[in-house]
């Protein structure tokens, strides 16, 4: 649906076949693990069996003596960092922590923490050699729960962490702590707001640790050349951040590192931080040969990702007629081994779907003995949405208000100031609610007993950051498009389409390529729902650059003043009805000065953020507590859908990840801090037999900050599902679930409690 009289586009809104498609359906596309180099060695990382331990001694001599072993490295082979913070694109990172995460320094902080690595002639020898590395540990007590880790007598993970109190006030204590950060936001008069409420509801929530779950494990192949130049082939969401992290970790100039992007088999935020490139580089430096390191699936679960478990408390005040008067939120997120949970976005998102006249948000970033947390699709927002959106639903239930109407009354819109400060520009929260309310799904009747329907909304900022592209006009009328945004879900095509639209040519005339860090301008990560927006802007700029040059060429050919020539409708028009199409003019480039190359960058544009509202029908088996998702509809403000199929795909994929998070996904730790379900068998991401078709409604409220109104779409769709499903479960079974995942045993317990209370 379109909510405005949007202009008619020729390319935007169509569904061309993606440019990399044939390679990907024939197996020809080369992913990180597919690289072959002469003299290639294979690396394996030895990982800690303990969740918390001091490394007393590492003896690698037996491993080094094994035939076929070429090198062994430990943290001693990675240069020390000292205390320094480095800006890595999406924020400043403590390099000592990042380095200690790549190869443990004096302590291991989670089971699976990398301790050493071996390069050998094949993986089997490398594996055997790892078993021959003798590591003496002094095992320490682990702390695995966010609230327990905040207690004063909790085991402390990092000696160098003090609480960073936002707002400038000095840290409460100089003692080492697990509480790395405190955030407080306030707006209005919270006390007065609650006093004005007719209904005040306070609820506590818990969410489990979950993983991004991309099917391709992390990988990196590095070649440390004799001239000191390092080349890394890897699948990454950001070649430039990977380059910078690798350079900073190895303490070599950024210019000495080249990162070559391989195709990437999913990321969802989890392939931004580097794990393997420095290890592969150190092994390559020692051996003088290229070294490939690939994680196995258990390592992916135990040592990468995840997104944090959390404790959240929400207090909501509402008047009898359904107007929000005040909110109070307390959020504590697990950072994992090192500071850096998405507590910031969690605090900013928790009340972001509504106009809260008065609110207070308090958040904590807390270290626990789990892998260092990383971004996962709208990081921090889903946890928060689960909490606030179920409280909203419960309030609606108590007041007898339709939950869609409640959102229409209180929903965020242009001009509303978020609790954390920013004022919304043109956004489409209300439009997504209206779309759900008007949908056949929401209007339909449920088909049977034990079924229930729930809705929930969600928000994500969407970021801008920096992108660069270069586009070269071929003499045959084709355009090659060079970009630095790795393509995880069809972005080559959505960028090419924006270039094509601007030049008035077809998407098929454009050949996009994702190239290495030496071959294109700085480009930030494929993340933050930014690529179609920001790299799109860069492509549009490059197209405009081409337009300007073509106008001059045409003026030369026609021997007229360039000011009398315009680029319009896929060609140049001049005085007296002079006209040449893009293609005709391209043919004449050799005789008018040769190549035309357009450059485009994006660096200043910011996005307005995006909202989604989901509607789900579930059936709860009253005897087992198992939930079947029967029907699912996503409505999302997508700005302008460039390639609707891939926009729908983002909504569908996000929704299903959210369904997995809602129902079954969680890290299951024993009391020693060992993850017991580090396989796809027991870490249960949804199979296709678990979910229905996911219907989508593309609400198009163009973002004025993009020439075509693009809004990032990738992240929002994971936010609403857990809450929407919780609300549907409440409707179906009469139980309010306050812990994720809402697994069958938990729902059954809730049903038993419900029955006992009767």
């Amino acid at each position: 649906m379109s909510t405005n009289g949007k202009p008619k586009y020729k390319v935007i809104g169509t569904r061309p076949i993606r440019h990399d498609g044939v390679d990907k359906v024939t197996g020809r596309a080369k992913y990180g693990a597919d690289i072959r180099l002469s003299g290639l060695l294979h690396g394996i990382v030895l990982r800690s069996p303990h969740a918390h331990a001091r490394i007393v001694r590492i003896d690698t001599s037996r491993a080094e003596a094994l035939a076929g072993v070429r090198a062994v490295v430990t943290a001693a082979d990675i240069p020390p960092q000292g205390d320094r913070m480095v800006e890595l694109g999406e924020g400043a990172v403590n390099m000592r922590h990042l380095s200690a995460n790549v190869l443990a320094h004096d302590k291991v902080l989670y089971k699976g923490h990398a301790v050493a690595a071996v390069a050998a002639d094949n993986v089997h020898i490398a594996e055997e050699a790892c078993k021959l590395i003798d590591v003496e540990y002094e095992v320490l007590e682990p702390v695995l729960d966010v609230l327990k880790a905040m207690l004063p007598d909790a085991p402390v993970l990092n000696d160098d962490v003090r609480t960073d109190v936002m707002g400038g006030s000095p840290a409460a204590s100089d003692r080492p702590t697990n509480v790395a950060r405190q955030i407080i936001f306030t707006k209005g008069d919270v006390q007065a707001g609650f006093a004005a409420a007719d209904v005040v509801l306070e609820r506590e929530f818990r969410t489990g640790t979950v993983h991004q779950g991309y099917i391709e494990p992390h990988n990196a192949t590095a070649m440390w050349n004799a001239n000191g130049k390092v080349t890394v082939w890897m699948s990454t969401q950001g070649i430039f951040t990977a380059r910078q992290q690798t350079a900073e970790l190895m303490r070599i100039p950024v210019a000495d590192v080249k990162v070559v992007p391989m195709e990437i088999g999913g990321g969802f935020g989890g392939k931004i931080s580097v794990y393997l490139p420095p290890v592969a580089a150190a092994l390559s430096k020692k051996t003088g040969r290229p070294v490939k390191v690939i994680m196995d699936r258990s390592a992916v679960f135990e040592a990468t990702g995840p997104t944090p478990a959390s404790y959240i408390k929400i207090k909501l005040g509402v008047t009898r007629d359904g107007m929000i008067t005040a909110g109070d939120a307390y959020l504590a997120y697990e950072a994992g081994a090192f500071p850096g949970s998405p507590i910031g976005p969690g605090c900013m998102c928790v009340f972001s779907c509504y106009d809260f006249p008065n609110a207070r948000v308090e958040g904590y970033d807390v270290c626990v003995n789990k892998p260092r947390s990383n971004a996962y699709r709208a990081p921090g927002s889903t946890n928060a949405a689960f909490a606030i959106e179920t409280v909203v639903d419960e309030v609606c239930q108590q007041l007898g208000i339709d939950p869609a109407d409640f959102r229409l009354k209180n929903g965020a819109k242009e001009g509303v100031r978020r609790v954390d400060g920013p004022v919304y520009s043109r956004i489409g929260m209300l439009e997504t609610v209206e779309a759900i309310k008007a949908s056949e799904h929401y209007q339909s009747k449920l088909a049977g007993p034990n079924q229930g329907r729930g809705i929930a909304s969600g928000y994500w900022f969407n970021i801008g950051l920096k992108s660069a592209v270069t586009a070269t006009v071929g003499y045959d009328g084709s355009v090659t498009l060079i970009e630095g945004s790795t393509d995880i879900g069809g972005s080559r095509t959505s960028i090419a389409m924006q270039l094509a639209e601007t030049l008035g040519i077809t998407a098929e005339q454009v050949t996009p390529s994702v190239v290495d860090t030496d071959s294109v301008g700085y480009t930030d990560v494929t993340g933050g729902s930014r690529v179609t927006f920001a790299t799109g802007i860069a492509a549009i700029e490059a197209a405009r650059d081409i337009q300007r040059q073509l106008v001059i060429r045409a003026a030369e050919l026609w021997e007229v003043d360039p000011s009398t020539v315009t680029y319009v409708d896929g060609g140049v028009s001049g005085p007296d009805g002079k006209r040449m199409t893009f293609e005709e003019l391209a043919h004449k480039l050799p005789e008018t000065g040769g190549p035309v190359i357009g450059n485009g960058t994006s660096g200043k544009a910011t996005q307005a953020g995006a909202f989604g509202t989901h509607c789900v029908d579930v059936e709860v088996d009253p005897e087992t507590g198992k939930v079947q998702v029967l029907r699912y509809t996503v409505a999302q403000d997508v700005g302008t859908a460039i390639h609707p199929s891939y926009v729908e795909g983002q909504l569908q994929g996000g929704a299903v990840q959210g369904i997995g998070w809602a129902l079954n996904e969680e890290y299951w730790y024993d009391d020693k801090g060992s993850m017991r379900n580090a396989t796809y068998l027991d870490y249960r991401i949804p199979t296709c037999y678990d979910v229905p078709m996911i219907d989508t409604i593309l609400v198009e409220v163009p973002d004025p900050q993009h020439p075509y109104g693009v809004r990032g779409v990738g992240e929002v769709p994971i936010c609403p599902p857990p809450a929407a499903i919780a609300n549907a479960i409440a409707a179906a079974a009469g139980v309010r679930m306050k812990q994720l995942p809402m697994s069958p045993p938990r729902i059954m317990s809730a049903i038993w409690e419900r029955d006992a209370a009767k």
Binding site: H124, E127, E128, E623, T624, K626, Q628, L663, N664, W668, R676, N677, Y680, L681, D682, R684, P686, T687, Y689, D690, S743, P744, P745, M748, S749
Partner: protein, 297 residues
């Protein structure tokens, strides 16, 4: 992966000689558990004896006297067998949910049994259907009822040098029916939280149960034959009262652990839920009604 040797004998005699050899030998059928266990270091064999080429272990013979199922016959052949689909439906129910389709194309029922997981999906069906294990060594053969085969998680009665050759099932009784179902959090690709298999035989009226065998998975160190739960049904009219008695008896022998797949309390509860559902389906099949198991639901 650990270094090991590989042999693919073509006669049972050769296979048994290899199994009795000096090195630590493991038979390799579908390998879907074994290869993973070697990779992760749970098992450390020196020799894998590929038993897929042995005629005795590839037997799939249904006759009026019963069914003989070679130990290396993959699940897909069990599912594809008209006779098994008609007369040993519980076994087909099991085979259809052992892993995904790809796993079923390799994994064998014999291997599932020899892996001896408490939650193995085929074992409750084998017990319910009264299957016997035929075990060979170079010194001869012996038979063991399936319910006596497993001795603990991953452990069974097989001695070094012994090989499971086949499973022998009695002929299906007139007016009998069987069913296996499990509870898993997803709809596919999980380990059973609880699995229940049952076989029932009805009298001529189709109302009274004349014989029954019930087996439970994932509620003890081994899959269990629930004798009392079956006895509670035999001679009774099949109704809610009989089901409730059977359920109570089945729950009484369930001694599950609490783990990431469910708490002990939840698992005991599921025994009751699943047994009631399994009995109704088995009785429906005994009556000649069509009951199609929709896994996960």
């Amino acid at each position: 992966m650990r270094d090991f040797d590989y042999a693919v004998p073509s006669t049972l005699t050769d296979a048994l000689a290899l199994m009795a050899g000096a090195s630590v030998a493991r038979p390799l059928a579908g390998g879907t558990d074994l290869i993973d266990h070697v990779r992760t270091g749970r098992l450390a064999p020196d020799l894998l004896v590929d038993i897929k080429k042995l005629p005795e272990l590839n037997r799939l013979e249904a006759s009026p006297s019963g069914l003989r199922l070679g130990a290396s016959v993959p699940c897909w052949k069990v599912i594809a067998s008209t006779e098994i689909s008609r007369d040993y439906t519980a076994l087909v129910d099991s085979c259809r949910i052992i892993g995904g389709i790809q796993i079923q194309n390799r994994a064998s029922v014999g291997g599932n049994l020899c892996n001896s997981g408490p939650a193995a999906d085929s074992i409750p069906s084998l017990i319910a259907l009264g299957a016997q294990c035929v075990i060979a060594s170079k010194d001869g053969t012996r038979e063991v009822p399936v319910e006596a085969f497993c001795t603990g998680p991953g452990k069974n009665v097989l001695q070094p040098g012994e090989l499971l050759v086949e499973l022998k099932f009695p002929a299906r009784a007139v007016r009998s029916g069987s069913h296996y179902r499990r509870f898993i959090p997803r709809n596919e690709m999980d380990i059973a939280v609880v699995g229940v298999g049952a076989s029932v035989t009805l009298d001529e009226s189709g109302q009274r149960i004349t014989d029954a065998r019930i087996a439970l998975g994932a509620v003890g160190p081994t899959p269990l034959l629930a004798t009392d739960a079956a006895q509670a049904l035999i001679g009774q009219a099949f109704d809610e009262v009989a089901i409730a008695k059977s359920v109570a008896a089945a729950k009484a022998i369930a001694t599950p652990i609490s783990d990431m797949r469910g708490t002990a309390e939840y698992r005991v509860h599921l025994v009751g839920v699943l047994l009631a559902r399994v009995l109704k389906a088995a009785v429906a099949r005994a009556r000649g009604e069509t009951f199609t198991y929709q896994p996960g639901h």
